[in-house]
């Protein structure tokens, strides 16, 4: 187990360096002119350009800049945005908000998606099964750009059940609606995945054996079916954390939630390269850690899996 962990950490470091290098080069090589982007449609005077170029180290060779960026990062320094704000401060403000939102979304996915999936899997062909299948088809078909404004209009403007937008430091109540919207995007997938996995396991040999030994139905489902069905679902939820971040770009904009998606979309809009790279670097770490946790959970769920 320990050796496995060490190996995984070494891999993670290499993946981190490789991904940040790719993002860094993409942003700097194709990102156009960050100084002009800063000025908008205004012309930039030669002097102003020269000052800003030196200030942001744009006159140095690419590899030097990347090396400086990496070493700063090791010291916990994410640099400053093009408007001069420390990126660390922005990340410290934005990440907890997005984590809160992601937590709500994951809970929604688990409570609605997984539960409905289990029920549907057990009662295949029932009215519940068919009804949820149709519902998930509809939800899967609506992208977040449509779902978020629609939910906002219905639940906050028409019926006034929730606040329309979040404040600067959002409360849980303000995040419920965006969280549900975000979570509902993966509810459908989680539900179908669970349903398939459960119904497949119901037909498995070990379930038949357990049943024929006279084990009570509740125990058969709880221990033999569910536990084995969770492996693909956990994998899905781990990967889904990433899609949640992407969905957060839209949802956070619509509900004005000052999280990571909000900052990332603004950074892209204003071509604030240092901020984009700062956010993406942390995103990469989140991805890697989530995947590590998923892999470790496999061993917990299935005793046959052991890491050496």
């Amino acid at each position: 187990m320990f050796r496995y962990l060490v190996r995984r950490f070494l891999q993670m470091i290499m993946v981190f360096i490789a991904t940040t290098l790719i993002v860094y080069s993409l942003m700097y090589l194709t990102g156009g002119d960050p100084i002009q982007a800063l000025a908008g449609e205004k012309p930039v005077t030669d002097l102003q350009r020269a000052q800003l170029t030196v200030k942001y180290g744009l006159d140095q060779p690419f590899l030097v800049r990347y090396w400086n960026y990496l070493t700063d990062l090791l010291h916990g320094d994410f640099g400053t945005t093009l408007t001069g704000r420390p990126i660390k401060d922005i990340l410290l403000d934005a990440w907890p908000v997005t984590m809160q939102l992601a937590l709500i979304a994951i809970l929604v996915t688990i409570i609605f998606g997984v539960t409905a999936g289990v029920i549907a899997g057990i009662r295949r062909g029932s009215i519940f099964d068919n009804a949820t299948l149709v519902l998930t088809l509809i939800v899967i078909g609506i992208p977040s750009v449509v779902l978020a404004p629609l939910a906002q209009y219905l639940f906050t403007i028409q019926w006034k059940l929730f606040p329309t937008t979040a404040s600067g430091s959002p409360t849980w109540y303000e995040l419920v609606l965006p969280g549900v919207v975000l979570g509902s995007l993966s509810v459908a997938t989680a539900m179908r995945l669970t349903r398939a996995s459960v119904s497949e396991n119901l037909r498995a040999d070990f379930v038949r054996t357990a049943r024929s030994k006279g084990m009570p139905g509740r125990r058969v489902i709880g221990i033999h079916v569910l536990r084995n069905s969770l492996i693909p679902i956990v994998t899905f939820l781990g990967v889904e954390l990433g899609s949640l971040m992407a969905g957060a770009i839209v949802t956070e904009s619509v509900f004005n939630v000052p999280g990571v998606g909000f900052q990332l979309s603004r950074a892209l809009k204003t071509e604030d390269t240092p901020l984009v790279i700062g956010i993406v670097s942390v995103l990469v770490i989140v991805f890697l850690v989530a995947n590590l946790i998923v892999d470790l959970l496999y061993a917990v769920l299935d005793p046959r899996i052991r890491y050496e």
């Binding site: 205004k42 005077t45 002097l47 102003q48 020269a50 937008t165």
Partner: protein
């Protein structure tokens, strides 16, 4: 470098304009008294900076307008009147004496003195500080020493020789050439004063802004900041009791920061936000129905034009340019594509400035398909043309519509050519590459005809991308700048405008306007020419 600011289309997607109908009608109901202690919430985007010399976008200048009082403001006719200044006088348009009112203090109790202005302006003008509004000081004597031509060289001076303190309340500004519109210019954000506490040390040279200042700016205006600037969330200001000028009739303002204008508009619909300064394009078609008389419009300073690269042989003849202009039905595009949120333009200056005359462009801007085709054929106009635009500003629709009109009315081939960014377009125009006609937008820096003419068409003007040059035009502008009275200056500027109408280096298309909405909690909502809510006029319905 001239004073300049190209239309910030990306930031202000569907900007602004129109007729002289002065400000918008008052919003909300007139019943119910006003609550003098209430707080008005106004939607803005995250300001880039909150330092006067570094703030050039509308969100930051909206906040600064609450925290600072300008030397001059503009009346209904957009003529400057003194606010923080007692008197601004000159005999030759070159040396200006500015006398400040007595009894004014900053929010921290520091008196506002001549030094408050001189320090702030020196900081702004010093090249290495790379302030966005640096170029506003280019007419002041000594500017070149602070901004050497070689960008990497250290400037030879740290203060402007043109700024001289006479006594605590008086100072003089000497310009390098006469400029009759300098007083109007003083109304801009760049010219606010700064207290001593804004600097690390006031005796230092060059001056350095204290680190904490930007998060809690101390100004001389009607409101002081409450707490600090909460990035990405809000900036709150409250009435400053020690304010010596006209006191506002509200207790404070909460500037709520939005990243997405649709979210901002949703909050207005839910009555959680009091003012949306620019209704998002997507909501334009329904906003009038949603808001009723809380949907308002007011003139703004934007002007949209189609520019001709005068260096391109195809467009060398003014008759060809006129024919193209006549083939465009401006009204149709303003009403169909922009749903009336912009107005057709028939002049080269905006109706918001003194000296504006309607239809200075004459017959050349009147839609007349038959005449246009005749003129175009007689003068051997090019068989195919293209219009270059920036793809990031929502211009495709009207460019395509314009092209279709040209195709139908002139029988030519016409295509829209997108460039990724406006800067790319300008770089190509500067390099005199073949880009065909191209779009240009202009937002004024100060209300004056000069601002619509000088930077855009004078030889070597800072935003003259068409390569247009006419010595008579240049001379008229110079004479206008040196004219002893504003009336005489306007006469010269109008003569200059008439030259543009004859030669048509650009063809005017549309004037923008502020299209804004308010909640049921406020009334008397006015948005000025700079897309700022007038905090002196707005009231809260109790």
């Amino acid at each position: 470098m001239q004073v300049r600011r190209l239309a910030a289309w990306a930031a202000l997607p569907l900007a602004v304009t129109l007729g002289l109908s002065a400000c918008g009608k008052s919003g909300g109901s007139d019943s119910g008294g006003a609550n003098p202690n209430g707080v008005v919430s106004i939607g803005i985007a995250e300001p880039k900076h909150l330092i006067p010399s570094n703030t050039s976008e509308t969100s930051g200048s909206q906040v600064l307008a609450a925290l600072f009082a300008p030397l001059v403001d503009f009346d209904e006719a957009n003529k400057p009147f003194e606010v923080a200044a007692q008197e601004i006088s000159t005999t030759d348009n070159k040396t200006w004496t500015i006398k400040l009112k007595d009894g004014w203090t900053f929010h921290n109790g520091e008196p506002v003195t001549a030094d408050s202005y001189i320090n702030a302006w020196n900081y702004a003008a010093y090249g290495p500080n790379a302030q966005d509004n640096n170029y506003f000081f280019d007419k002041v004597e000594g500017y070149k020493d602070l901004n050497p031509a070689d960008a990497k060289a250290t400037p030879t001076a740290t203060t402007l020789t043109g700024l001289k303190k006479v006594d605590d309340k008086t100072f003089t500004v000497t310009l390098s050439a006469p400029f009759s519109e300098f007083k109007s210019q003083l109304g801009y954000t760049a010219y606010y004063p700064l207290p001593n506490s804004a600097f690390e040390s006031v005796t230092a040279s060059p001056l350095v802004i204290a680190k904490a200042y930007e998060d809690a700016p101390v100004g001389n205006g009607p409101f002081k900041i409450k707490g600090t600037w909460q990035h990405d969330a809000q900036v709150e200001v409250e009435k400053f009791d020690g304010f010596a000028g006209t006191k506002p009739s509200i207790g404070g303002a909460l500037f709520k920061i939005y990243q997405n204008s649709d979210a901002e508009y949703a909050d207005l619909q839910a009555n959680n936000l009091d003012v949306v300064k620019q209704i998002p394009t997507a909501a334009l078609s329904t906003a009038q129905g949603d808001l009723g008389d809380r949907y308002q419009t007011s003139p703004a300073s934007t002007l949209q034009v189609l520019a001709f690269p005068t260096f391109d042989k195809r467009f060398a003849k003014p008759e060809v340019r006129k024919a193209i202009s006549m083939a465009i039905d401006r009204e149709e595009i303003a009403n169909k594509v922009f749903q009336g949120s912009q107005k057709a333009a028939y002049s080269f200056v905006s109706p918001v400035v003194a000296g504006y005359r309607d239809k200075t462009c004459g017959a050349a801007c009147e839609f007349n398909a038959t005449e246009a085709k005749k003129l175009y054929t007689e003068n051997d106009g090019p068989k195919s043309i293209n219009i270059t635009y920036n793809a990031d500003g929502g211009h495709q629709e009207w460019v395509d519509a314009t092209c279709n009109q040209l195709k139908a009315n002139l029988g030519v081939e016409c295509v829209g050519t997108p460039e990724a960014k406006f800067a790319d377009l300008l770089t190509k125009a500067k390099a005199k590459k073949e880009i065909g006609m191209f779009r240009m937008g202009w937002v004024m820096d100060y209300p004056s005809m000069e601002n619509y003419l000088g930077p855009l068409y004078s030889t070597g003007g800072s935003s003259n991308y068409y390569g247009y040059s006419n010595p008579t035009f240049d001379n008229l502008l110079k004479e206008g700048s040196a004219a002893p009275t504003q009336e005489e200056a306007i006469k010269k500027y109008q003569q200059a405008e008439d030259i543009l109408a004859q030669e048509m280096p650009v063809l005017p298309l549309r004037f923008g306007q502020n299209v804004f909405g308010s909640s049921t909690k406020v009334k008397d909502v006015h948005i000025d020419l700079f897309n700022r809510v007038d905090l002196n006029k707005i009231q809260i319905v109790s």
